[in-house]
Structures are given as C-alpha cells and as structure tokens.
Symmetry: C2
C-alpha cells in the first residue's frame, strides 16, 4: 500500500480509516517519467488520475500550436469528463511535465469500490460538484478579468507553477502571447 497515497486520502475528512484502507488497497499508484503522454487527441479517455506528486499539463493543438488549457499538481484530480463520460474522442493531450506519482483509476475499478463502500457514490458526486464549481469559477474569472488581473490571480492562487513551468506555457494558459506576459511583468515591476 502506498503511504504517499494514504496520506493524500487523509485530506478527505469524510472518509473513515477503514474506507481509506479499502480505497488505497484497490487503487493503482504508478510513477510516470517526465514527458510521458497520458492521453492524446482523438483517443477515448478510459482512465482518470489524481496527482500525489508531480505535474501534468493539458493542452490542445490548434493550427499546429500547443495551447495549454490546464495544469494539475498535488491534490488535483485529472478527469477528462467530456471524453470519458460521453465516450467521445478527446480534444486534448495530457503530458507529464515532471516525473509524477499518480493514482490511476477507471470506471470499472470505481464501480467495484462503490459496491464495497456504498456511500462512496455520493462522496464522489460531491467531489465532482465541487470540481464543476471550480471550473465555473475559473470561467467567471477569465471572462471578467484583464490579462494583468489573470496573471496576478494565478500568482496568488498557484505560485508554485511559476517555478515549475516554462514561461511560454504560463502565457498560453493565460490566453496570451509570451511577449504580452513579459510586458505585464515589466509593467508590474515599474508599478512597485
């Protein structure tokens, strides 16, 4: 049983010790090297992950250019719902940008776990609801913010990304060109 994963699960306060042990026993934990691609455009997503250690980047290819659409780090669940739940080809790629330790699950494994722990279905549902809420907050912030505000917000909420991710990918994630990111940073330094 992976001790890192047990520690990770203990963040979910609604789970009892016994339930944590059942989940940890039935969940695969796997190491992935930096550069490993977990999902490609066009494939149907059959697995979902959560990050114990490391970082996974999500991107789409648009006119041959990578557009970064998400970063998943410690504690984040990586679920490509549009592909997995609807059985549709994925529009995006998932790549490990660091050596990563991930839990790997799928619908079968999840169903079996829910049979063992019936209230898990409703716990997972609550987690998915919270996740949907976060996605909506992200859209709200994106719609209502200037690019400078988006940059400051990311610095406040996910400061670790700035040390882990190349600048051009941060810029792409903010929906701007690397030159615009440099300009914003210079402007903010001048303001100080």
């Amino acid at each position: 049983m992976n001790q890192d994963f047990i520690k990770f699960l203990s963040n979910f306060e609604m789970l009892t010790q016994e339930e944590i042990e059942i989940i940890a026993k039935d969940t695969h934990v796997k190491e992935f090297k930096k550069g490993v691609i977990l999902l490609t455009e066009g494939a149907i997503c059959r697995e979902c992950y959560s990050v114990i250690k490391g970082c996974v980047r999500e991107y789409i290819l648009k006119d041959g250019e990578e557009k970064t659409t998400a970063f998943f780090t410690e504690g984040d669940a990586i679920a490509s719902f549009t592909s997995a739940t609807n059985n549709l080809p994925s529009k995006h790629y998932l790549v490990c940008v660091e050596d990563s330790l991930l839990t790997v699950s799928n619908q079968d494994l999840e169903r079996k776990m829910c049979e063992k722990i019936p209230r898990l279905e409703s716990i997972i549902r609550l987690e998915v609801e919270k996740h949907a809420g976060k996605e909506h907050d992200h859209i709200t912030a994106f719609i209502s913010s200037s690019t400078e505000e988006r940059y400051l917000d990311l610095q406040e909420k996910r400061p670790d990304l700035f040390n882990r991710i190349p600048q051009h990918q941060i810029a792409s994630y903010l929906g701007i060109k690397p030159e615009s990111l440099s300009r914003i940073k210079k402007r903010l330094i001048t303001k100080k």
Copy 2:
C-alpha cells in the same frame, strides 16, 4: 403534474416512465417573471433550478459593473455548486431575463428522491460529470480562441441568444466591450 416538465424529463433517455412520474410529482415547477432575482451575491445558494422555458442570466458585479458569466436556457441546469456544495456565499447573481418556467429543487428534495429511486444518485452524478466536462470545454475554448472566434462559436452553438439578449450583455459574456463586438460584426460583414 406539469406536462412541460414531463416532456422535458423524457429527454433523459436513461429514466423509465415510472421514474419520470415520481420525479415530476416531487419536483416544484414555478413561474418567475422577467426581472426576478433568484440569487444575490453574498447569499448562500440553497436551491438549484433547471429551465423548462425562458432564460436566466448569471453575472457578477465588479467595480460597480455587471459582468455576464452565463446564460441558462431551455434544458440547462442552474447549479451554483461553489456556493451550494461548499456552503459558501455566492459570488454571483442570477436574474430571469425573460418570464421563465423553472424547476426548483434543493438538497433535501433531491435526497428524498434518491431514496425513492436509488439509481438516481448515479444518474445525477453522470449529469454533473457531463456538466463539469462542458464547463472545462468552455474554458478551453476561451483560453485558446481569439475574440472573433469566440463570437463565431457562440453564434454557431447558441444562435438563439442573439435574439433574446441585449448586445452589451453578449459582449460582456464574450469578455469584451460592446464597441469591440460592433467592430467584430462589421469586420465579419466586410469579409463576406
């Protein structure tokens, strides 16, 4: 029993006729006049809705200015998960922009329905997953698109909005100023 709602529920192919009748019997369907505010900033969201007929707009107030963050029309579920699931004050407002016929539910009603139809828990979870997937697709599109592309995408996916919603609210929803929306429209006419 509301016939509009029964017709609406029959879109969910996984439900049996008997289940549809139980849900319809236990769900409140209510008419709201144009202008009615369903949720205000700072209040904890206790109800969730779905639109049978009409249109609800979601917005935040930023420096005294309304920023439109969502439109909900026929078939859409309106759930403020960040507030409802986490018991936190809402950051946004919900207002009916047309006379609207909505289903009104809450966690208690939902729990009772899940007791009567145990597999409803997993059906709702799948719906929430699909919803989360759509939210993520929306962010992906927003991050990776130019404002012109965003406008064309909205025209393709939700053409009805352009007849139902004032232009300045459409502009706000696209994250741009009304003047920019006018410029995009002029440019596109010239291109034709």
